[in-house]
């Protein structure tokens, strides 16, 4: 299932894709950590957007579109990017490592955990890419 980004349908599609992708399941089998994505308003995105993913051992246990600000006060990782940068990552125009190393994607959380699991992060981006049909 693919859908237009950003939308609740897209996030649902991403959840389904994560839970059915064998390659991701294998690469991310040791991953334990939830994420909050904060997408800063820019271009076609008129107001800040957040979504939440609870990723655990290669599966997605929970996905929430626009969660309450107080719903997930201490996620394992907080990832922030502008709308243009996040869409560039999702369309493959911006390498996710480039995004991280040039601060187009800001990361808050355990860097030790992140550096141990770069392949998981990169494969998550592949899955998200494949779950995206179109960008608004």
């Amino acid at each position: 299932m693919t859908a237009v980004f950003p939308s609740e349908e897209w996030l649902k599609g991403l959840e389904i894709k994560i839970n059915s992708d064998e390659k991701y399941a294998d690469i991310a089998k040791n991953w334990e950590g939830d994420l909050v994505f904060r997408i800063e308003a820019e271009g076609n995105l008129k107001e800040e957007l957040t979504f939440y993913l609870d990723l655990w051992h290669g599966k997605c246990r929970k996905a929430e579109y626009k969660p309450e600000a107080s719903a997930h006060p201490k996620p394992a990782f907080m990832l922030s990017a502008t709308y243009n940068n996040i869409t560039a990552i999702l369309t493959g125009k911006l390498n996710p490592m480039t995004a991280m190393m040039t601060m187009k994607l800001k990361v808050q959380g355990s860097m030790g955990y992140m550096m141990r699991n770069v392949p998981t992060v990169l494969d998550f981006v592949r899955v998200a890419n494949e779950a995206t049909e179109e960008i608004v």
């Binding site: 490592m97 190393m101 040039t102 860097m111 030790g112 992140m114 770069v118």
Partner: protein, 605 residues
């Protein structure tokens, strides 16, 4: 910049060398400026370990200004290991202290009749007896000198036993474990009977526009502190790179013959952070604090290893015990040995032992079986003392390999051992190693970070696939130019500082009106000048090559089956550089374009 203090240890005479303003403007400071200053003296006939050999400690215009990671200086001369241009970049607090003492450089020539150390205090120089610390390690010597000069805050650059005995990859240490490791300048210092240099001063560092510089500095440091890469290095040290490098097949194992190392996490920065790490340490003014402070169970706080030590004494020798890696790195530091070259040369010994070219008889009974860290410890001790097999090992991998009829097994370029970023995993390193002015060096262009994705689009450093080849050659050249600027600035390559901010800092500090293009041109000028020095010392295109091991595909890991098409890459690189494809020299036009008319004349007329 301030004057350079020249000292002739044979005669005891001193004089001040005033840096010509046009040289500062063209070469900025640090290594590029040193290349300009030393250009007339670095001849083919010069023996790097002779009295005539110059040893230049030099700052950059931002050294000690608390700019983003600018507490650094460089040490330059002619390398006894490579017989080529030598430079080694070092942090700590010594460079800033020299600046406060009234000088931006110390230019040492001659040879003292007996061991001495120099004491530079507030513009005054004293030559003192060092006989009682000759034979002592770097930390014992620092302690002695600090106590004898009796000035709190004095900083001491020092050599260990390796430098005294002329090991060709001896380092110079300042503060606690900050090492100028590469190219063997510790041996040059030792050849002059110079054990240490202590410096102290209170002079204020002058800047062209203090107020503007202060504002820029605050902004740059604030931004740097929030940078992802800086946060990773702060939290995990440079060894943070281990897991991902291994995944890419860019972290060599078993002396560059194995493309993966299953136990990499045992020696990773992440593991260190959650097991033995008890603190961090920083160079002057640095907000990153990459230095590791560890406790390995004996209650003592000691320096923890960085990436090169982790890999060199870990996967390179199939050792997966982090505590042993800490001990081996510390042993090298104490003796004053470069960890990269030591671990590489020891790795070659293990490799030749496995091949049957080196026997137990040759090693004096030591079994060089992979993973045998006790054997590594024994070899390090023998190297520092130049005893037994250590005598041959002390000459570096090229000579060691040659002694056993296996020079081509040595993983080195032009006499400098390859660092631990494998071009089979990150192809840009093929050109970085083959064309670096000091041999196989990863600091003249740590292009592996660009291959990971760290781009700088405002100076044209863009992203290419990590296995792209000739198409990235011009990108590598740009990156080398930029890093040459770092080495003249002098800024640490761990600092992800936007190039425009770097230019703004230069302008505020020096009163220039540089643009990004000026900055890159200065880097390119420095790179070509060092190349010209090396051409004069005998370097041709035939020297721009990779060792055999790096051109053999791995059978496993993230780089399985890949080798760079090096000939094509080099052709494209020469094109991008404007270098003559026959001779390997920068073309006359390129040298003229860069304002190096005298060099063009000498190389071409």
């Amino acid at each position: 910049m301030q004057p350079i203090l020249k000292i002739n240890l044979t005669t005891g005479t001193t004089e001040e060398f005033i840096i010509p303003k046009e040289w500062e403007r063209d070469f900025l400071g640090g290594a590029s400026l040193a290349a300009r200053i030393l250009y007339p003296y670095l001849t083919k006939e010069l023996d790097p370990l002779s009295a005539e050999s110059p040893l230049l400690f030099i700052n950059g215009p931002l050294t000690g200004t608390s700019g983003p990671t600018t507490g650094r200086f460089v040490i330059c001369g002619k390398s006894p290991a490579t017989q080529l241009w030598a430079e080694s970049n070092i942090g700590g607090f010594w460079g800033p202290e020299l600046r406060k003492a009234g000088y931006d450089g110390l230019w040492v020539t001659g040879k003292s009749q007996s061991p001495v150390y120099l004491w530079v205090e507030e513009g005054r120089l004293e030559v003192r007896n060092a006989a009682s610390v000759w034979g002592k390690d770097v930390y014992q010597t620092q302690e002695f000198v600090q106590e004898e000069v009796g000035v709190k805050g004095a900083r001491v650059a020092v050599i260990g036993q390796a430098g005294e005995r002329g090991v060709l990859y001896s380092s110079i240490c300042c503060d606690h474990g900050r090492m100028a490791g590469r190219t063997g300048l510790g041996a040059v210092m030792g050849s002059k009977n110079l054990k240490a240099i202590a410096v102290y001063g209170k002079k204020k560092i002058e800047l062209a526009d203090v107020e503007h510089y202060s504002a820029l500095r605050s902004e740059a440091n604030r931004t740097l502190k929030q940078d992802n890469q800086a946060k990773i290095i702060h939290e995990l040290g440079s060894a943070s790179a281990a897991n991902y490098a291994e995944y890419l097949g860019a972290m060599p194992s078993k002396y560059y013959h194995q493309g993966s190392f299953a136990n990499v996490d045992n020696v990773s920065g992440s593991k260190m952070a959650e097991s033995i790490l008890v603190g961090t340490s920083a160079c002057q003014g640095c907000v990153i604090a990459c230095g590791r402070v560890v406790n390995i169970g004996d209650g003592t706080k000691r320096k923890g290893p960085e990436y090169e030590t982790i890999v060199g004494f870990g996967p390179n020798l199939l050792i997966d015990d982090l505590v042993e890696v800490v001990r081996l790195g510390e042993l090298c530091d104490k003796y004053g040995l470069d960890v990269i070259s030591t671990a590489n040369t020891v790795g070659l010994a293990f490799h030749l032992y496995e091949m049957g070219k080196l026997t137990k008889q040759d090693t004096g009974g030591i079994e060089l079986t992979w993973g045998n860290f006790m054997a590594v410890r024994q070899l390090i001790q023998l190297i520092a003392r130049r005893e037994g097999i250590g005598e041959l090992l002390s000459r570096g991998s090229r000579q060691f390999g040659a002694a056993f009829g296996a020079e081509d097994e040595a993983v080195q370029v032009n006499g400098l051992e390859v660092a631990y970023h494998d071009p089979r995993g990150v192809s840009g390193m093929a050109l970085s190693y083959a064309t670096s002015p000091r041999g196989a060096c990863h600091n003249q262009s740590d292009y592996f970070l660009v291959d990971w994705g760290n781009t700088q689009e405002n100076i044209g450093i863009t992203y290419f696939d990590r296995h792209a080849q000739a198409e990235k050659a011009a990108n590598v050249a740009r990156h080398q130019n930029w890093r040459t600027f770092f080495n003249s600035f002098v800024m640490c390559i761990f600092a992800n500082v936007d190039p425009q901010m770097q230019v703004d800092l230069v302008n505020a500090a020096c009163g220039y009106e540089w643009t990004l293009a000026d900055m890159m041109r200065s880097g390119e000028r420095g790179w070509n000048l060092k190349r010209a020095i090396n051409n004069r010392l005998g370097i041709t295109r035939a020297n721009d090559k990779l060792p055999k091991a790096l051109l053999k595909p791995y059978k496993e890991g993230g780089a399985e089956g890949f080798v760079p098409d090096f000939a094509e890459m080099l052709n494209a690189y020469y094109e991008a550089r404007g270098w003559d494809k026959e001779s390997g020299k920068p073309s006359k036009e390129k040298l003229m374009e860069l304002g190096l008319e005298d060099v063009a004349k000498e190389l071409w007329d």
